[in-house]
Symmetry: C2
Subunit: 688 residues, 2 copies
């Protein structure tokens, strides 16, 4: 069977890739960290897709533009971190790179060893014994990547170990409910304890080095942190009656391999260790909309300035891998109705494929009304219901869960939703009554939930009726009061500009700033404007960390809400290809700066927004983004200053971003959706 | 049967009220415009609710605090517009007011007469004949209230008549697809044609008075504007398979009269001619949250400065009445699952009750996951699904539809959602190819959809654990880089202030500005902060019209996103009690100014946000809002610069606002929601 070029590697291809690499390198000391699809160069893919589309979607083996099938391997060869491009068609390594000074993403096997080594250290054991923990409790060590704070040499891997306690023998007991006032800095490779740190129990406390730790206060024992039904002592409500979704004719989607077809939409589902779910070649009614959509990075910097908390700064994609952390979704638990699942395949350290079952689910939901009108003169109503297709994946990043979902609409709109749930990362605090902290919220006895931010970056690789697109920024401004042109003072118009050079931009609801991805060479026949899709952003606070801080330097995407860059095959990750102990200077702002616009840092403040355009740049300017193959990046998230209600498991915090046609079609594309009737929908009247 | 004081008037009570008024006034020239519940003074209601709550919700006839049952009647008595308070317990008029210079809301019977009078006028007929309209077409006159533009004396009612054409004999044909270049200013009471205005067909055209109108271009005939299934010639998609909601044990709600109980929530549903759906005495787990929630006003100013378009400015509540415009919801059309409907009762001009069936529907939806956590050490997941209760009402305001819904969550959050749908208000434009306009979007041949704003004001009357509440505004700010306190430059903290005096405030996502309604006298036992609920606002542009314009002066609420005022029984409508041809100076900013803070106009810019607090005011300051009975008003909406995709019926544009507990409870109130299992949810696996 011919695989589509966007299809993830099959288990056989993973095996083959590893085999080819083993043949290629002389050493047998190989630790495979990544064996994944090396997506074909876009130039080749465009030719392929154009031809595939001309063939009406048929996969022809003899499609002459079929790109080579390649794998990306990242591996430690004799402890040296390297990347290889392996051509699976010709069974050869075609390029290799030694990744000097780089670290691979988290190795969970290694982390488990670090935990054990940390716990086994007699100095750590001594500290634990000072705590005089309750009998039958179990100490749990949670290893975190080290967020650089300038206090250590970053050329060596370090791990921060945070200490918690389970008070039940049940391994599902919530140990985050008992943060212990201890942390340990470990040398990851040698597994040596580098430093033992006492965690502060009040805002102004500092690490007091060698003093003995205060014993655990037995009065703080409580079950309020338990969420598992086997352990939670709280009653469970019995008032919620069952609710079933019945689809007597089955779902409206069809799935062929990785290709999904639903209500005029077609797209391909991808999956990799880092981004998790990806979508490719997204079309509506055979018209091209997006080449690729994915969450490209996320960053969770904590805001507590007390040592060692500045080291808490999680890149959940770059360090942990959204694919690696993907949940095995369960029928009837994670979604409702008729569900189709996709499996994912990753690799072990020895290069063997491992199956991650059910990492993505696909199902339909009813979303209320999509359009309605009642003619008030006749009283006749016409109403249609909105069906949506949901592609969902859920990841567990230690304590937190993120639910990522694309919602496809019958009106050709597309929404990306993030739900943050799971358990807050906790820190110890004095359990004296009325204790509070400037740096977070006390959510239980002795439990501080520190303030932090969640910063997501959605990568939008548009193909609006083709691959040469522009970003048009439109604002609505009052007209000046004028006896001729605006005598009543209520007139307003829009002001638009095409962004000519790569840059970062900010949101401004006060001017209704709107970001439209347009194809300037195709004009809407009705509206006489370029066809386009607009980004409906999620309003949130940019990164709070000071620009000079490691947090800010490492997460360049986090300082602006919208970025536009020229497309490059190797620019997928806006905080850089490698985020483990990264120290900055290699993300999206650096790319832009490297191409010499010098504008990466320019905030588009409203007063300068309408100022003179940048001088036209010479042809071939690498930073030009007008009528070019461009990428739009949207940074959004939340400043999460916890609530008590977020404990012990947080109710979903929803964030959503939409892409909507703007003068792309010639009328509402949902006009032909079936009219809503009782015969069709079979609702039940509840009598008064 | 004893009615609850919040229950709307029954048909019998409407009849009785009218009867009492007829007895009271000597004249028989009475035109009843409003006969509705006069909600009891809050002071009396608090006493009643406290006692009712102490009696565990039982309705006791002998509840000594039972307030009098009163009706509010607005009527023209001998053509004079008056308001009466009628006590139904003692069958007496207890107060009356002559509403000098005021106009009642739109009288649809009168509007129909105006339409006919306008059409019958020979000068108008002459104009129509100049248009040489297609045979068999029908001219439709759409009367609008006159938005003051300073060109006429506002003491007399005027109506703007806009002209459209139906090209089919079917009365459901979409006449908005054929806007004609003609409008007429009518004296509403005398039904005289005051002025005939030619509408401009290009941006720079002005009314050319007596010139003959250009004939209609027959080439513009098209069916693309038809949405009714009987008329639309476009095919209808057949791919959407049926989707049913099955609730084998029935819904989880119980309804007793107007009282709804669902998943620890209790509240009462009200309904009146102006606000439509209202909610009262909203509690969760017996704790008081909100005294009253309602949409209090909405304003739709158009942005086209060309005469006569500045007169297009719709107060859909104050002028049209959300209750009057409420749709008769149909089973299986407007919602899915097990549906309970509420009827509404209004009155005729002769004081008789009229029933509006099914104006509000109540049903449950599944909202995906409410919380989930997987212990990555055991692989055990615990997941719970989110059930929501929806209270929905839909209004038709001529061309537009608005779907208003409250969503109650099991996590004690409450979301108010507006969906805008229906048909754009259209204006004529030259049908020459490539014609565009600065003032809107061409959505079809000869059809301009002008730019406009939708500005909603949600009135939130809080009762967070009692009636003395405060508004706390919190922002997140970076700590200064400091060798001691913030050596790594990543620290941030929140800065809070209690708003001491009535004012309007703006949104600022850049500082994560958060609006918390708190009860300062009740401290959360866990977090040691005041208990509260936060407003999660909808980010949108404030009103664009210049402050000196009638649009801005008439809709005072529209210039700030969040307002806090002291509670007053008679301050329900933030653009003023009467909006028909209002000229401003009587909305929320005027109330505040009238109480002498002089701050109603102060924009809380971020630089002054953290400046010195207002000097403490003397006790008894009427503008003080700290630890007082306060009201929070949230203005939100959209700047709607139409898309072609909004035509002919617009896919829903969603806007939503939430109220969420912040340190109100002692943990996540949804922890006890049933665990999600396949046994319970009965999903269906779609095989690969």
């Amino acid at each position: 069977m011919t695989r589509h070029p966007f299809d993830p590697l099959t288990p056989e291809e993973i095996k083959l890739s590893a085999h080819i690499l083993r043949q290629h390198v002389s050493s047998s000391d190989i630790v495979f960290r990544v064996v994944t699809l090396w997506e074909p160069p876009k130039a080749e893919m465009i030719a392929f897709l154009d031809r595939e589309n001309a063939l009406r979607g048929a996969l022809h083996k003899d499609n002459p533009s079929h790109p080579s099938r390649c794998a990306r391997i990242q591996a430690y060869i004799n402890k040296k971190f390297c990347e290889f491009k392996v051509n699976l068609d010709i069974c050869n390594v075609i390029s290799e790179e030694i990744l000097h000074g780089r670290q691979s993403h988290i190795d969970s096997d290694l982390m488990r060893k670090v935990e054990l080594a940390c716990l086994a250290d007699p100095r750590v054991q001594d500290k634990i014994s000072q705590l005089k923990l309750p009998q039958n409790s179990t100490v749990v060590v949670e290893p975190w990547t080290y967020g650089p704070d300038g206090m250590n040499d970053m050329s060596k891997l370090l791990t921060m170990c945070w200490f918690y306690m389970r008070i039940s023998s049940d391994p599902d007991a919530n140990y985050y409910a008992y943060p212990l006032p201890l942390s340990v800095e470990m040398a990851t490779e040698t597994m040596d304890v580098m430093r033992i740190i006492h965690l502060p129990l009040s805002d102004d406390e500092h690490d007091e080095g060698d003093k003995p730790l205060q014993p655990f206060d037995q009065q703080n024992l409580h079950a309020s942190g338990e969420y598992h039904p086997n352990l939670s002592t709280a009653g469970r409500r019995t008032t919620t009656k069952p609710y079933h979704v019945n689809q007597p004719q089955g779902p409206s989607f069809t799935i062929d391999g990785q290709k999904v077809s639903w209500e005029k939409w077609t797209f391909r589902v991808g999956f990799n260790y880092r981004e998790g779910m990806t979508l490719h070649d997204i079309r509506y009614d055979d018209r091209s909309l997006f080449y690729r959509l994915s969450l490209s990075e996320m960053f969770v910097p904590y805001g507590d300035p007390r040592m060692p908390y500045p080291r808490k700064a999680a890149f959940d994609l770059g360090n942990d891998g959204a694919g690696i952390c993907a949940n095995n979704l369960k029928l009837g638990c994670d979604c409702l109705g008729h569900i189709r699942y996709f499996d994912g395949y990753l690799n072990t350290n020895s290069g063997l494929p491992i199956k991650l079952p059910n990492v993505i689910c696909c199902h339909e939901i009813d979303d209320g009304i999509i359009w309605k009108h009642t003619n008030f003169r006749t009283g006749n109503a016409v109403v249609t219901r909105s069906r949506q297709l949901v592609l969902q994946t859920i990841i567990t990043a230690s304590n937190y869960e993120y639910i990522f979902a694309f919602y496809f609409g019958q009106d050709a709109s597309l929404t990306y939703e993030v739900r943050a749930t799971g358990i807050l990362s906790t820190a110890p605090i004095s359990s004296a009554p009325t204790t509070t902290s400037r740096y977070g919220t006390v959510v239980g006895p002795g439990i501080l939930a520190p303030n932090h931010q969640h910063l997501f970056c959605l990568r939008i690789d548009p193909a609006i009726d083709g691959h040469r697109n522009s970003l048009l920024v439109e604002e609505s401004h009052p007209l000046p009061v004028d006896a001729e042109a605006n005598p009543f003072g209520m007139g307003y118009t829009t002001q638009s500009r095409i962004i000519t050079n790569e840059t970062g931009l900010d949101l401004d609801h006060n001017t209704n700033r709107t970001f439209k991805i347009v194809n300037e060479s195709i004009t809407n026949r009705i509206a006489s404007t370029p066809v386009g899709y607009k980004l409906v952003p999620f309003y949130s606070q940019p990164i709070l960390a000071h620009p000079s801080s490691f947090h800010a330097r490492r997460s360049e995407f986090a300082k602006h809400a919208v970025w536009v860059t020229r497309y490059h095959d190797d620019e997928m990750f806006p905080a850089g290809r490698f985020t483990m102990q990264s120290i900055g200077g290699e993300g999206i702002a650096s790319w832009i700066e490297g191409r010499g616009t010098g504008q990466s840092d320019t905030r588009a403040e409203s007063d300068e927004f309408n100022g003179p355009e940048n001088a036209e740049r010479v042809l071939g300017d690498p930073s030009s983004v007008q009528n070019k193959d461009i990428v739009i990046w949207h940074t959004f998230g939340s400043t999460h200053n916890p609530r008590v209600e977020d404990w012990p498991v947080m109710p979903c915090e929803k964030m959503s971003v939409s892409l909507k046609p703007v003068n792309f079609f010639e009328s509402n594309p949902a006009m032909d959706v079936p009219i809503s009737t009782q015969e069709r929908n079979c609702s039940v009247l509840v009598e008064g």
